[in-house]
Amino acid sequence: MDSQTASLFSIFLSGVLLTLIAGFYCILTSTNLIRVLIGLEVLTKGVMLLIIVAGSIVGRMALAQALAITMIIIEVAVIVVAVGIVLCVHKYSGSVDTRLLRNIKG
């Protein structure tokens, strides 16, 4: 792997890692269920960029795009189910505070 692609990859990898840090931070410190979902979304953006960059370096753009599109569709299904759960929580307890969920020790 020549050094020019190496430096290109390093730059993109740094961007991905910083995005992932933001996403993980959001999930760990949120007190609102919906904000946790937003953090999840940010994480997904990060890894999607990683897939596209990897595909671009290796020259497999068609495969990388197919993977990215599949990922987007799966992400939609997960978010839809998560929103359904959050709405049920809200209907039951009137609030979407994560601190309420810590009641039951895991």
Partner: protein, 163 residues
Amino acid sequence: MNNLDVMLLVALVASAVITVMTARLLHSAIALALTSAVLTILMFRLNAPLAGVFELSVCAGLIPAILISTISLTRRLTPEALETRRKELLRRFWYLPVIVLLAGIALALVRVPLDFPAPPPAAVGSVREVLWNLRHLDLVGQIVILLGGAFGVAVLVKEAKDG
């Protein structure tokens, strides 16, 4: 060429940080859409137009719409406590830009070792549509998971009648 990419990456990270840090959920959802838009531009620059279009329509359109409707349905009942919330959130979240800056500096100094042999050149260098013939299983998987999402929502949201 490279400078534009670096600026786009900085914009991506910045909008991600803004998404996490804003006090109001509504602003957070809009910032998420903005992050998706920046990602779409990056995808176009990396020669992934179809994925970019998908990303824009779904992650900058559909998902923020879903999130915003959820937010409006679960509105907090204390609109006047917004100021105190903002201060509280700022106190909790101000760590993030600091962490990101430090990590960014650290990453800029580290060189990623790419000391493995490059993979063989692409046997199939053709258009996306041709590739879709090779990933039937993923297609079926997508259909099934969409069905799963549909059934899931139906089960969770529908009012139950006793039987």
